[in-house]
């Protein structure tokens, strides 16, 4: 029972740290990573389909490196090495470097999702469109992509949920998200499991709501098709 009274005590004193700051920054970082990831991920996916060999090779290398190394390591590089390349970053709070890393990371994964979504559309669709006289561009935009989106959306939803949880690694640099809230309160109280239980429930609530929203979106797309 002390466990729950401890949780009540912690929440009475630190609720703002968890509910306002923690959730606020987690949502902020997730939205930045997801929006940036979707935008740059689409660009990367396009670059992968480009006819320029060099561009293709570069993008592939980037995606492989990003997917093949831990996010925590990427965050360290973002925070300590990026400022050497971009001096402006060194005078800004760490959340800027952290956001850039999360966007790059998310872009790499999203680009793969989009590529596989496009490739999953039967090649015959493109061939039929082309033989009916549509340009490559129109065929892509109005025949292939609309079908690809339906393949892409569920995987993209998974990626978004992963991103919400990945933002927790940014707590190494105390940027303020939920896991930072955990570190702050645990540092004051030394009540580790209680604080972890609180952030666990909050993370679950966030991802649960997100997955329900995504499911609803999927259903609506199915109804329309």
């Amino acid at each position: 029972m002390t466990f729950f009274t401890n949780i009540a005590k912690i929440m009475a004193k630190y609720w703002q740290t968890f509910l306002l700051q923690g959730i606020g920054y987690t949502l902020l970082l997730s939205v930045i990573a997801v929006a940036g990831g979707a935008f740059f991920g689409s660009l990367l996916a396009l670059a992968k389909r480009s006819k320029l060999r060099i561009l293709k090779a570069l993008v592939n290398a980037l995606v492989e490196v990003v997917r093949g190394t831990p996010v925590l390591l990427q965050l360290y590089i973002g925070v300590f090495v990026f400022p050497m390349l971009i001096p402006r970053l060194s005078s800004l709070p760490y959340i800027y470097s952290v956001s850039i890393v999360l966007v790059i990371n998310s872009s790499a994964y999203v680009s793969e999702i989009i590529r596989s979504g496009i490739e999953a559309v039967d090649i015959g669709q493109m061939e039929a469109a082309r033989s009916l006289g549509l340009t490559q561009r129109t065929a892509m935009l109005s025949i292939v992509l609309p079908q690809a989106v339906k393949n892409i959306l569920p995987a993209l939803g998974n990626e978004f949920i992963t991103v919400v949880k990945e933002t927790s690694l940014a707590s190494t640099f105390f940027v303020g998200e939920l896991m930072t809230a955990y570190l702050k309160v645990k540092g004051n109280t030394y009540l580790t499991m209680e604080c972890l239980a609180i952030v666990g429930v909050l993370y679950f609530a966030l991802t649960f709501i997100l997955s329900k929203l995504l499911k609803a979106m999927e259903r609506r797309m199915k109804a329309r098709a």
Partner: protein
């Protein structure tokens, strides 16, 4: 969609209950009285920041040396003995202070890569650190370093007072800390299980509560913090380590190439040591962290030190 609405309603309702319950809790303004006074005194020195910025890497998850006051915002929210010291150094060096909070490991990486000028976060001197950093002269943070103790579950309180008493038991510590060095030096040749290091103190405390380890080596000040929050589940064993002179104090880590800053910091630290500038700081931080009260440590209600 109906389900989602219901769920959102529950979440919002919970949030409101919590918000309301929080309104009822008392403010902790009193706790910071002595600390705020010291900070104001330091800042009254009147430095203009003419010599640029002093970027300090700090790991604020270590009450009472470095922790957060969640009622404050921005840099002001990071408090503790090391923050007072950082402010004092910035004043002495006539620099503008920038605090960069990050994990203990990242503090060292920040200094090595030049992202921070100096790491001030309750560091002790160790041989490995002296190889990789320029280490400042020492400073004394109350009994945080001079007393190194072992804590245990309440039922063993006071029963283990000699090193031999620990034979056959398992003792944990924070990895890469002074406590690891002490545990290895003290119990290394004996039949004591010292195989388990923990990434941070909080995790180690959980392991102690879950009886995965029998004992945990801690700095005395951290032990006070842990016990004050453990609702009577944890206590001191009564055993204190014999601490060699070189480990008794804290130091700052500076990049090996930055000898200029090292000299300036050392001059300021020596002045503070000789003039006993930080004598009341640690007590003020102990009150702030809720380990002790103003009255117990000889402060009046406004935070003036009236007796030692």
């Amino acid at each position: 969609m109906k389900n989602i609405n219901k769920f959102l309603c529950i979440v919002l309702a919970l949030a409101m209950i919590l918000a309301l319950s929080a309104c009822g809790s008392k403010s902790d303004a009193k706790l910071s009285a002595a600390y705020d006074k010291y900070l104001a005194e330091i800042k009254a020195n009147g430095a203009t920041g003419a010599n640029g910025t002093l970027t300090v890497a700090i790991s604020p998850d270590f009450a009472p040396m470095d922790f957060y006051d969640v009622a404050k915002n921005g840099d002001d929210a990071i408090v503790g003995f090391d923050v007072l010291l950082a402010n004092y150094l910035a004043q002495e060096l006539d620099m503008t202070l920038v605090l960069k909070p990050m994990s203990f490991d990242a503090c060292m990486a920040a200094v090595q890569t030049g992202n921070a000028d100096i790491a001030i976060s309750g560091f002790s001197w160790t041989f490995e650190r002296s190889q990789n950093f320029a280490i400042s002269d020492y400073y004394i943070a109350g009994d945080n370093e001079t007393e190194q103790s072992v804590i245990c579950l309440k039922e063993n309180e006071g029963k283990f007072t000699k090193a031999e008493d620990f034979v056959g038991y398992k003792i944990g510590y924070q990895g890469a800390s002074l406590q690891q060095v002490l545990v290895e030096e003290t119990f290394g040749g004996m039949d004591v299980d010292i195989s388990q290091a923990y990434v941070d103190l909080g995790t180690a405390v959980e392991a102690l509560k879950a009886k995965q380890i029998d004992f945990l080596a801690v700095a005395h000040g951290n032990g006070d913090s842990i016990i004050a929050n453990a609702s009577d589940a944890i206590a001191f064993t009564g055993f204190d380590f014999e601490v060699a002179e070189i480990y008794k104090n804290n130091v700052c880590l500076i990049n090996k190439d930055n000898t200029e800053l090292l000299d300036l910091v050392n001059a300021a630290l020596n002045k503070a040591l000789v003039e006993e500038i930080y004598s009341g700081w640690y007590d003020a931080c102990k009150v702030y962290a809720g380990i002790s009260t103003l009255d117990e440590l000889g402060f009046d209600d406004e935070g003036n030190k009236i007796k030692d």
